[in-house]
Amino acid sequence: MVDRHEEFKAFVARHVAPFAEQWDRDQSIPDSVIAKVAQCGYLGSSLPSEYDGQGWDVVTFGLLNEAFGRGSSALTGVLTVQAMVSMALLKWGTVEQKRAWLPPLAKGEMIGAFALTEPGAGSAMQSLVTEFTQNGGGLILNGSKKWISCGQFAAVFLVFGTLGQRSVACVVPRNTPGLQIEPITDLMGFRAAGLAQLHFHDVEVPSANLVGKPGFALSHVAPVGLHYGRISTACSALGLLRGCFEESITHAAIRKIGDKTVGDMGMVRSLIARMGTDLEAGSSLCRNACRAEDDHLPAAFEKTLMAKYFTSRAAVRAASDAVQIRGASGCHGSSPVSRYYRDAKIMEIIEGTTQIHEDILGKIFVDQAGRFGTLTRSD
């Protein structure tokens, strides 16, 4: 596989980074920008060519998200959610569903959104109250979803809820009668990511739109989407971290304080040392996670959790330090580090909070005690 990182970085330098502050202020990304991203095939990077995707490996998908994360976390969010919907459909969709939905998703003719979170169910997925009921040969959907990235402009939603006692996932087109979309504005970060609240009032959907078998939406369908969401977010946070690092070392090298530069100050060097080391460590964790996914290894799951856990926290630290190094200018909208500071915190929330990651990873590590042969039956 060709290393396309330079291509991705050039695209971001030309079409993304110079405009990201304006999108942030506007709380919106122009349709023409998303169309350009689509033209380059970036919205179907991980889908196979038989569905009009690029068929790139996961390492390349990670590099794409890292490059975009350096320019705009909000735009990277479109890549994230598109992959979450696409890969869940690729794994668990029927032949008919794949033929219907994957080509337009791959070509970016259609943006997807992953409608899992509810007003009363964020980290607690088992608490979903959005409800599907049987209605003759079809389904009726009632409930609401909140904090849905790309919800403002998505053409299709992968909606999670219950059918009786069983969890289900279902494709719901935007233009379905009874679906009301309410934009969420004035977020701290990800301001241009088009978040929305979705309200479903007696929405009729065909049973053929169910993805996977009833009862497996939360155990099998959602985890595939969330896994790709974490890969994307981990690499996007890495890109943001890289942005903080590059902004900081540049400022440290040229900004004068008396006859010295900012970079001559030991305290600033400490901040930059941590930032640069976190960048290197985060790069390794992300590459390892992506390679494990390319190799289809079960360990890809925990490696991705570790990568997302590490890079999102490191990005928050780096963004805070980058603002500190820049001083007053770092607190103004004319400097990208003020946006990085606000966006970075969102990284610790989406696709599983830091605390959820700690809970899962802690259990995984404790359970690995069996690998080392230190347990006996009496233990």
Binding site: G215, F301, A369, G370, D379
Partner: protein
Amino acid sequence: MSTRDHDGIKETVRSFILSSITITDWDDDADLFESGIVNSLFAVQLMTFVEKTFGIEVGMDDLDMANFKSLNATTAFVLKKNGRRGG
């Protein structure tokens, strides 16, 4: 499918499960998920392991907890999929 195939698959799956849990002794028919031996997140990892190790694809039609609920069930599932592929 020979007894050796069956035993080889079973021990391979057993080793993988053992690498992910804290107990070392459990019944080969014990429901891994109902009993709490593994958490629900393990379902996707076990599925991925089976796909990777035995070269089979778990599709929507295979979505049935009966296929993966225990060591014996997973072994039987792999044998069934291998047989279908071979035949």
